[in-house]
Amino acid sequence: MSRIKITMDVNGRRHELAVEPWELLVDVLRDTLGLTGTKKGCGEGECGACTVNMDGRAVLSCLTLAVHADGKEIMTIEGLGKRTKLHPLQEAFVNEAAIQCGFCSPGMIMAAHALLKENPDPTEEVVRKKIANNLCRCTGYERPVKAILKAARMIKEGHHE
């Protein structure tokens, strides 16, 4: 089988790539594009560490074929904010001590990003339900949930998006 040409927008930049038909989005992001912020925790869609946004929705990039990203807009953690200008979610994760080892954080933040796009004012219960796909072994989820709720307030109060 020959490689397939795809075009995708990743973090606001257009990429034309030739991918193997079986290649996974997570591997294209990490290995081909060098975007290692997206993590691989299980490769089976169970831990959520590989969560990215595709056309604004949270997807598990380890269960998504790269060819399915053809013509799509992908946002990874690298596209959310910059070191010098953090997104409210990133800022809240920093200030609310929502991070320990940080391996699940990019996926959890991207899951939360998709959630807040869809529902800017979620209850704690909704947040817990929506990030139930993202395993965290360090925090017990207490602080990440607080951080997501805080980010929602920050966005509502007009912090930059």
Partner: protein
Amino acid sequence: MNDQCMTVGRSVPRIDAVEKVTGNARFAPDLKMEGMLHARLLRSPHAHARVTGIDTSRAKTLPGVMAIATIEEVPKVINNWFFLRTEKKEKQMFLLDRVVRFVGDPVLAVAAESEDIAEEALSLIRVDYEVLPPIFDPFNAMKEKDIRIHEKGNIAFQVKKTYGDWEQGFRDADIVFENIYKTSKQKHAPIEPIGSCLADYGPNGNLLVYSSTQLPHWSKMYLARALNLSQNKVRLIKPYTGGAFGGRCGLIHGLELMCSWLSRETCRPVRMSFTRKEDFTATETRHPMTIAMKTGITRDGLLIANQVDLVANVGGYGTHYIGVIADCLSTGVGLYRCPNVNFNATAVFTNTSLTGAYRGYGNPQMNFAQESQMDMLAEAVGMDPVEFRLKNYRGLGEIDPVLNQEILSDGMKECLEKGVKSFGWKEKRTQGESLGPKKRGAGMAVMLHGTGAAGALPDPASAAVMINADGSVELLTAAADEGQGNRTVLAQIAAEVLGIEFEKISVSETDTGITPLDGGTHGSRQTYAGGLAVKKAAQEAREKLLRFAAKELDVADDDLEIREGLIYNRRDRNQSILLGDLMRRVQIGDMSVNEQVMGMSTGIAEAMPGYYGANFAEVEVDTETGEVRVLKLTGAFDVGRAINPSMVEGQITGGGVMGLGWALTEELMLSDGRILNNSFRDYRLLRAGDIPELDTIIVESHEPTGPYGAKGIGEGCLVCVASSIANAIYDAIGVRMKDLCITQEKILKGLEDQSQGS
């Protein structure tokens, strides 16, 4: 000084938080090098077998295969740590061996241009096995004479310790309870799978290894020894690490040493990253234990005799089992002031997956048995469980009989008082609410855990503090941060001593080529042992810079103070100089000096202080389905002093949830030695929606030997969670759960036995 701390006691954000939220933090699986090869292991499908033949001829011709390492090629070198006193006699785990001892034991490795090629090569290799009879049950393994898992037999380690006159103790006891407890095989399951390494024999002939280890210096020493290199030829860098919890406490079986060997053979960098399935199948787990415990008390509720017969299932290979058993006695049984103790323990090899260090280090297993016993005994004498604990625990001023050290700080009473209040113990305990088939109950348990290992194991900590010409500071420490945040806490301590802003401190990467000797991140030790080293190094630097300042300002050293980077005369605040101005003059300006102000420290902590804690749990048990729902978990822990309260809370909530998992959902299930639930689908970690109300209480007892009064927290916060859940279940339904994890089936079976018994 303690009362006016600027940085210590503040919840500053962690120093690596921004790197982690932006995706900039690179973990071991993210690392790449030019010309890097990818390695994969072929693992045994048998629980016990002898490798009789390996045919690699087809794999060798596959384009892209660069090296194959079988037992014919690699030297028979030991792959586990034996520097530490407790394991030095146990030379059982080799890089590769002719006998495989569990399903997943490495048989050979392939290094290839890509992971796919390496995988394909593995499928082209034929291995002939002579299948040997396996033993899965530790009690069978102990009896078995003909089937020997290791040459020396199936007993890995055996110990008997007594103090007092335990036989007399039981004769004097008015009430004696004897029960058997079992604990499950729990996996660390950090979200970065265990087992990722990149090794490179550079053109200078030195070995550079990137590995997410908890023990960088011991691992470096071990690699040097195994590869017959002098220690200055091996450099180990620990990149960002996605959690460890004891699972990276030493070299990983088949990982660092194999990558290093393959790199030496191929003259190329070699990376190997285990999959999640490999993490579940072939990396260490918590030691499952069977603990028979007999406890005697007097009529007025005084503990007078304890007997423990403990069997730990080590698996095919084990690390840390001697230390784990030692902790079952020292902080496990030693939690209580019991004058007469008879402790017997046996660690046994079986053909199940290997075991090692895991948060709590034997203490959770022992605590589950002992705290269940205490709950029964309190009930038997009609005492409140809290009161019973207060009466019997070993506290301030007493001598710990195992380590023979005096207890200098003790927050147990405060943990219990605050816990009782915040949890609502009296109300929840007496209500015993019943909602149809759903019964509610409350239970509690306490624990003691050691901080560090001073006196028990080699336990060095070191630090260097270097002040730059602009007054900023570089802190060099090998205190490996696995995610708990010790680099941040150590920076806070340095900032406090030096009187500068926290933001002015940067902390080095953990790199054995740069950062001096450290005993590793284990035993809840880094805030304490690492903190003491950093404090001393920073004090030395402070003294030096004050001498320069005194000369510059023409005042006595003793009159000087530093606050937020300004050095001033306490008697006359107008006499002052900015640290940056002074350092620039010292380093560059004053040609007669030209030095960098530095401070260094290396050595061992003076004690191994215990830290106390208590958990209170409220549960709701559905007597029709056996489902247990935890409604609230209160954790009150005495950390001596919280250098960073938010991060301490993060440990208590995280350890609490990991403990809940061990109590209720987490158990590796084996059938004929094969792990059945080797994925997150089948091995159930708790998710965000499963979490009860978590109530966190920090108690500060000020440990006099600790930096700013601090002692540990990392492990203790897990130790008595499961015990408190089991005791709460008893309060709810009157059934004692003696077998972890507590599944719905076990609850229903317990209820059935209860109704038949009555």
